[in-house]
Symmetry: C2
Amino acid sequence: MPLLIDVRKLSLITELIQDGAEEVAGSLASLAGVEACVEIKSLSFVQPGDIPTEMGTGQIHSARIRLTEPPYGVFLMTFSTETAAEIARLMTGTPVEGEFTQMQQSALQEMCNILTSGFIDGIADTLETTIDMGTPTVEVADTSAVADAALSHVRRDSLTIVLDSLVDIKETDVAFSLRIFLIPDPGSFVHLIDQLDRDVETGEPTNVADTEVEELDMSADVSAFEDSAGR
Amino acid sequence: MPLLIDVRKLSLITELIQDGAEEVAGSLASLAGVEACVEIKSLSFVQPGDIPTEMGTGQIHSARIRLTEPPYGVFLMTFSTETAAEIARLMTGTPVEGEFTQMQQSALQEMCNILTSGFIDGIADTLETTIDMGTPTVEVADTSAVADAALSHVRRDSLTIVLDSLVDIKETDVAFSLRIFLIPDPGSFVHLIDQLDRDVETGEPTNVADTEVEELDMSADVSAFEDSAGR
């Protein structure tokens, strides 16, 4: 099955990612009371088989969730032990000394929930849909185990979007480096992108263009009215 | 005309860009005697109409060239006045005081030639082709003028690949931030990507897989020979 996407629509992927990042910042403010700026540092595409290489070796924290609605596939977020400790300290106000306390572990889970749902909601908004989702599985494990768990239900020929992002918490010197792997079902992803009603000639979403035309028509009506009124 | 690309081949774009960056590092070493590491900081896709926004306002240095062979289109590299002065200083050994000297201007042109041809050659290698090119036009101008000049022959519905890269010169504290806009003809670009003989099921270029099979056969032959010789 060919899984074809109009090359001129690739800019929609950049928009998707940026909208996801913005929604994460919004969720952090409303759900965690944390003012943050979320910056996408890099975007790349890899094959699912390359994910272990991208992760490197050693212990890594991860939050993963399988999407049960389009674009299906897997959302996987990874971050270092240092970042996990910073998140726990930020959320609980207590520094991490050795093992995480029960409260710090809960705080980490909560932050992963906020980041994950924020990102997925942001993408869903742009795709003009909703993507219901449960709670992500948060764990610390060897990178190879994390990759295996995430990829167990993924087609080997899928597209993987890799994002490095920086969540910069305002008025502090805290910044989290997060890596996100988005591995949608390729067919479903292409279908969603195709649905987006963008006019590829002008780059404008067609509904925006319609609004503009309507506005122009209205101002023409107004000036016709003004003309007929002798102004 | 639909300009369709297999979504599973998008990882080839990441590879193209990385190969371009590696070739730039190689060209710097062989042509300028400068050991450097070239890092891609970000990759994104925009519409050509968004390029002026990406550039911001004010004066900017640029090197641009129209490609007269596939994938056609425009290669545009931009960098700040500070970066231009650092390049001139690195290449001539003399600091820039106010206006560039004739020698510094030549050095800047030479560096732009090396960076541009290195990047284009790297892309061409991956695309298993060659892309002949002339000398890029190097100038300093307002961002809007630079964008206008670059986009004058570009289809408005093209794809624009935007890269932020960092050229880190080894054994110095010098690092150039460069932004690259690659605006290929979309039809030609899709055709080149399609030509690449990658096996989308395994993610391996098919010719590599063939070689591996052959090597296995050969070693089997060798051990059969050794067995029959009683070793």
